[in-house]
Every structure is written in C-alpha cells, then in structure tokens.
C-alpha cells in the first residue's frame, strides 16, 4: 500500500510543487499532498493530527533554517507544535515520529529531496493508521 505523505511547506520554499516532488518520489511509490503555508509558524497542531486521522501515514513540515525565518520565530514555533503533536499521537498509541519537521534553505532542492526520501522510507516502515 502506498504511504500518503502530507507536506506543509513554508511559502518561502516556493520551488516545490507536487510535480517536483513526484520527480523525487515516483507517483507509484507514495501519494504526496503539498499544502503551502505563509510561514511554517502557521502550522496548527489540529491540522497535523487531522491529517494523520484523515489517512496520511506521515506529515512533513518544511520550514526555513532556524535563525532565518522572515517572521523571526515562526519556524521555532512550528518545531514546538510538531513536538506537541507527536506527543499527542504517542498518547494515542501511534508512535512519536509520524510528524517530522525539516529546516531547509529556500531553493535547496537536494536537501528537500533527501528529507522527502527519508520520510517516505519511514512511512513505509510504520505503515498507515
């Protein structure tokens, strides 16, 4: 069964589209859904849980490198929300790494590709809910 990955992406990371992501992870290997946020700090814990509940195997948040957020601390807030969301998932018995935050410089496609491959590989290991 193909894992479904929901990707919340900071708008600064503008190079990524679903077509781009599918060049990294072929369509028959995983279902990728990319949602662009004005900043990773817009990440909401409820969105993260609901994405897993709705069927995503894993969720990935792409934020700018720490110290480089144009809203100063948006990516730091995102990191804390991801940690909290994973704790809530662990309470529910779903493990504590279904949601992963990665900090990637805007336009660094190589780092994005590596991070995405890691997430897809992990999603294949843990499987869907």
């Amino acid at each position: 069964m193909k894992p479904e990955i929901v990707i919340y992406c900071c708008a600064n990371f503008s190079a990524v589209s679903e077509e781009d992501a599918e060049k990294i992870i072929p369509e028959d290997h995983a279902v990728l859904r990319i949602s662009r946020l004005p900043c990773s700090g817009r990440t909401d814990v409820l969105y993260l849980l609901r994405s897993i509940e709705a069927g995503a195997t894993m969720t990935m948040i792409v934020g700018c490198p720490e110290g480089q957020c144009q809203f100063v601390e948006g990516n730091l807030r995102a990191r804390m929300r991801v940690r909290y969301a994973n704790r809530l998932l662990a309470e529910a018995g779903l493990g504590e790494d279904r949601i992963q935050m990665v900090n990637i410089a805007p336009g660094d496609g190589i780092a994005f590709a590596a991070a995405l491959r890691n997430v897809v590989a992990r999603a294949r290991e843990i499987g869907p809910l």
Partner: protein, 221 residues
C-alpha cells in the same frame, strides 16, 4: 479567568470503556483561553480518541462541539437536545460548567475532561499564574494591586513575615515575596503609608460554600 488543564489521555480513554457513542463538549470562554477545553482542544482530544480507538479496533463514535459558555444556561440550551442519544458526554469546561451540564442533562452520564485549577491571569503566552482566591474580601486597592492572599505563600494580610529574604520567599526561593512586591509597588505609587495599615482578620463568613449571589434586580419584591 478560570484556569484548567486537560486530564491525562489515558484517564479519559479508560473512562470511555463500554461506550458506543461519546460526545465531547467544549467551552469557548476561560478554558479556551488557557488552551485546555476550547474548540481546538476539543478537536485534538476527539482526533486522538478516534485514532486510538481505531487502532484498538474499537468502533466508538466520537462527536464534538463547543458552546460559548458551559456555565450559562442560555448557551447550554442550544446544545442539550443533541446530547440525548449519547452514552456519555465529556465536558471540557471548568467544574462549574460540568455541573450545569450534569444538572440540565440528567440522567446523562458526564465525564469532566479537564481539572480546574485556579483563577489566574496570563503573564506571557502559554503561561498562567494564580492571582485570585475569590476570598470575598478584596483589599487590592490597599496593596497596590497585588493580592497577598494569593501571591504570599502564607496568605498573610499584614506582611512581610520574618521569612522574606532579599525579596524571595522562605517557602520557595524561586518565588517572590508578595509583601516585598507590595512594598515596592506602593513606593512607586506614592502610597507607602498603606504598608502601615493594620488589616483585621479575614471574614471567612463570606466564604461559606457553596456560595450564592443574587443580583438585587432579580430578588423580587
């Protein structure tokens, strides 16, 4: 506002054993502000429970909604008719809201989803501090707006005691001495003479429980 914290997930989940339909009812006033029982927290708990029960292979229907204020009959009447078909309602309100829900929905089974802790304020995002004990004898006007009953570990009205140490409390070195804070606040206000006032013992008669208050307009003839 009233500050609460959500009960541990396992405690809530265990209490739902044997139920087939559960409703989670939030309160969008105090417990929403302290991120314990508002619309978002209701959504998070509902999502957690649905996923957890699904993982356990249990088919339990979890529905959710949030009212403006669970401690107010007018708001509760909007939702009561929807609750009758459920085995249990998890109330995410403070203790007052839980009790009004239980009164109005009798004999429906009610479970509190939060532990109600104190009346407090928000010194910074995500942090709440107790600042009022609802003692019924407010003297904040005399103490520079700092409550000795709440902030002082001993709740003394005529401080400081002998345990103040460079502005810290002997009970906990990380806590400020309330009466030192009061002294400095009064000094800034030009009302340092207030520190000499002798407050009489508190009138505990006004703290009879359960307390009740009726507005004059509603007392009738």
């Amino acid at each position: 506002m009233i500050v609460a914290e959500r009960k541990p997930f396992d405690e809530i989940k265990t209490a739902l054993a044997g139920c087939r339909k559960v409703f989670i009812l939030g309160c969008d006033t105090c417990v929403s502000v302290c991120m314990a029982g508002g619309k978002k927290e209701v959504g998070l708990l509902a999502s957690q429970l649905r996923m957890s029960f699904k993982k356990d292979g249990k088919d339990i229907q979890i529905d959710e909604d949030t009212v403006e204020r669970q401690c107010n009959r007018e708001y509760m009447e909007l939702v009561l008719s929807r609750l009758q078909d459920y085995d249990l309602v998890v109330s995410m309100a403070c203790g007052a809201g839980v009790q009004l829900l239980a009164d109005l929905s009798e004999p429906l089974q009610i479970l509190p989803g939060v532990n109600t802790r104190f009346i407090g304020m928000t010194p910074q995002d995500g942090t709440w501090e107790e600042r009022c004990r609802a003692c019924g004898n407010c003297i904040l006007g005399e103490t520079g707006g700092i409550c000795p009953v709440t902030v002082c570990a001993k709740g003394i009205l005529n401080g400081p005691c002998g345990g103040t140490d460079h502005g810290k409390c002997e009970v906990d070195k990380d806590k400020d001495c309330a009466w030192t804070l009061i002294y400095h606040r009064l000094e800034k206000m030009g009302k340092l003479d207030n520190i000499r006032k002798d407050f009489p013992p508190r009138n505990h008669l006004v703290q009879c429980h359960p307390a009740k208050q009726v507005h004059e307009v509603y007392k009738g003839e």
